[in-house]
């Protein structure tokens, strides 16, 4: 177990919100959004400088339609409840979503023997699925390997811009009055009579009625600091390669292997924006900050994905990166703590955090209301984000831009305008880092990897902070764009 004790001065300010949510990943932000519809006071504490900046920023983006978690489990239930809502939700929040479909490929007879049981599971939970082979398989998955002897096609599977999703949940929550405390870490907790009475952070003290632990890979440390249950969260690293939208034209749907003891294995995934993600592998690491890629890991992922899609063309690779998934045994610890009666756990959500997030926030909200949180609606609460959508939302939308900034394209690869960048740096939930601008707009994330626009994005970002340009952070403190000013 790691200790979280920081050498900060004893903070004096004390706040007493109804709910403190620890962690602003996709789980914490969806909970914040659900609670923001109620007339309650909510604070979200996040140790990183931005929301959605850990597991929620480097994942598959797949919205699991509910076929893979064990039927009858809460995980299955929340995925199923979420699945039908993506179209409306993505429209309300300005987050791209596509229902692309997924095909599970059996590459030999042994794997093929496992397909009928998977089809049965789909039927049990009411997710449409077809067992296909030969021409019928090639029709739904023309990019799949001809070696596939059998496939299970799940047409409802979707992909969402999961990076922007957390941001959008948080933007709507903040618009409705939720307070986000970014760059602030939980240090300690005070318990009395089996309840958490006070949370001490690096910047302040809180005396909430309820606490939600949605701290992802840090949920075990947060639980320990608050006097909750003792468990371990392992950071499971996954390595990814992102391929150009141009190659995405050849990837109409998700390809995955038959799940083995270690999960699905790497997948070939069209993203919500039309590019292609290839990955992840799975490696449990002792260092929860280790997001390094390795030559072997990337090569292994690509090799395994070539078995699914022989036409995988690496000349379209834009970038490689790694993400961390919070794994615990048992997984999906969602419910009231056994150690502190006002602590609601939402931890160890390794695989379906994005997929179940629309229903997860509401599930946690309902548990809180059942436990005594006032359930009356917030007057005039907003249910959608109404600022102008980034240009990439629709190139034809360019026609209606009247603001000169909205006619000035900064990132040519991802079609991001100066207006989009300025919007990202303004409330709600103003970005304070270059990475924050990228998560909100996709600027610098295209095929040239910022070689044309990164300096522009950096300097615009620096305009919003009272500090020298070289100190502008990419993401976390210390990740400055430079080391000082030039001579003369």
């Amino acid at each position: 177990m790691r200790s979280h004790h920081a050498d900060t001065a004893v903070p004096t300010a004390v706040e007493s919100p109804d709910v403190v949510i620890v962690g602003a990943g996709v789980v914490g932000t969806s909970t914040a959004m659900a609670l923001s519809q109620l007339d309650v006071d909510v604070v979200v504490i996040e140790r990183r400088q931005d929301v959605g900046d850990e597991a929620s920023r480097a994942n598959s983006g797949i919205t699991n339609s509910g076929w893979s978690p064990a039927p009858g489990s809460l995980e299955s239930d929340l995925c199923l409840r979420s699945d039908g809502r993506w179209e409306a939700l993505s429209e309300r929040l300005g987050v791209r979503f596509r229902r692309v479909g997924c095909t599970v490929l059996a590459l030999d007879e042994e794997e093929a023997a496992l397909i009928p049981a998977m089809a049965e599971r789909c039927e049990t939970v009411g997710v449409e699925a077809q067992i296909l082979k030969g021409d019928a398989l090639a029709e739904v998955a023309p990019h799949a390997s001809a070696d596939a002897v059998l496939g299970l096609h799940i047409p409802a599977e979707g992909v969402v811009d999961s990076v922007r999703l957390s941001v959008a949940y948080a933007e709507l929550a903040e618009t409705n009055g939720v307070r986000f405390r970014l760059g602030e870490a939980v240090v300690d907790g005070v318990r009395q009579n089996g309840r958490i009475t006070e949370i001490v952070t690096t910047r302040g003290r809180y005396r909430p009625k309820f606490v939600v632990n949605a701290a992802g890979v840090g949920a075990d440390a947060v639980s320990e600091a608050l006097g909750g249950e003792d468990f371990d969260v392992v950071a499971r690293r996954g390595q990814w390669t992102l391929l150009d939208r141009e190659f995405g034209k050849q990837v109409p749907s998700i390809l995955t292997g038959v799940p083995g003891p270690l999960g699905h294995g790497p997948m070939v995934i069209p993203t919500a924006h039309g590019s292609v993600l290839v990955g992840p592998d799975a490696e449990d690491l002792p260092d929860k900050r280790d997001r390094a890629t390795t030559t072997e890991g990337i090569a292994d992922v690509l090799g395994r994905c070539r078995r699914l899609m022989p036409g995988l063309d690496l000349s379209f690779a834009i970038k490689t990166f790694a993400g961390l998934r919070p794994h615990s045994d048992p997984t999906y610890r969602v419910g009231w703590s056994e150690s502190a009666s006002n602590l609601l756990m939402a931890a160890g959500i390794r695989s379906t955090g994005v997929s179940s997030s629309p229903a997860m926030g509401e599930h946690l909200r309902d548990l809180l209301v059942a436990a005594g949180l006032p359930g009356s609606a917030r007057p005039a609460a907003r249910t959608s984000l109404d600022y102008e959508r980034p240009l990439w939302w629709d190139l034809d939308g360019a026609r209606v831009a009247t603001d000169p900034l909205g006619r000035t394209v900064i990132c040519a690869c991802e079609k991001v305008t100066a207006a989009d960048v300025h919007q990202a740096l303004r409330p709600p939930l103003a970005a304070t880092t270059i990475g924050g601008v990228a998560r909100r707009t996709h600027a610098t994330w295209g095929r040239c990897q910022g070689s044309a626009c990164l300096s522009g994005v950096a300097f615009v970002t620096s305009l919003y902070a009272d500090r020298p340009a070289w100190e502008t952070p990419m993401n976390e403190p210390g990740s400055t764009i430079g080391v000082g000013e030039t001579h003369g």
């Binding site: 390094a292 040519a412 095929r447 044309a452 001579h487």
Partner: protein, 272 residues
Amino acid sequence: MADVVVAGAGRSGLIVARMLAERDVRVSVVERLPAAGGQEPESDAESLARAADRAGVSWRLGTIALERRPGAVCTLGVGGAESLDAAVLVLATGTRPATRAELGIVGDRGAGVLPGSVAHHYLDSGVLPGRHPLVVGDGQLAEELCEQLERAGASRVVRVRRTAEPTESGDGELGELGEVRFADATVEAVHGFPRVSGATVRQGGRVTHVATDAVLLAAGRIPMRNVEGALFASDDVVECFSSADPKTHEDAVATATRACEQALAAVGRRTL
């Protein structure tokens, strides 16, 4: 008269635009920046632009070509959104250094690993990317960066070249101006978080760990491809990317001449 849109008003874009306009083609030049000449205008940019103007080229400055559609190019610029008729699109959008993925560099994703073009802008704007930076690349951009870094106050520059060293100093030894040079070498991985602190340099079987506070990627001249639906040459899309390094006027003319011929042939096919 046929319509051709030239995307990019750098040297080869300006030359091909003039050539086409002189051959009775209606040419529009679309340039992302507010003036002709491209990102790093050469000294002849103004005279090339004047020549193109005299030949009858029409201009869309401060405007970007967003998307190729049948017979047209959609643009967005200070004047608003437009759909320009274009039987043929000429891509003269310039080049960029190879990305980290293209160079196969793995490891941590800390700050300080930058495209060379970005480092160049940072230095121009008073931001020092590193005090002992590592510059990857063999060409003009890498050379210019090394000079710029030394002037800006970098105390030591590590240079990693893919090709063998043309002259002097041995591998990994101190060269002139405090440069440490690795020839016939590649950067395999970068290390350090939240900012880069080191790099693994490979020379054949030999691996060296180099301490550095910035890794500047200035290798290669890769075409900038960002017009949706026209990323590569096709029946009605012509590429005009000069690849000489260092850049030369002669190569720009040769590239533009080739692109002009291809564009005329494509126009012929389109208008017959």
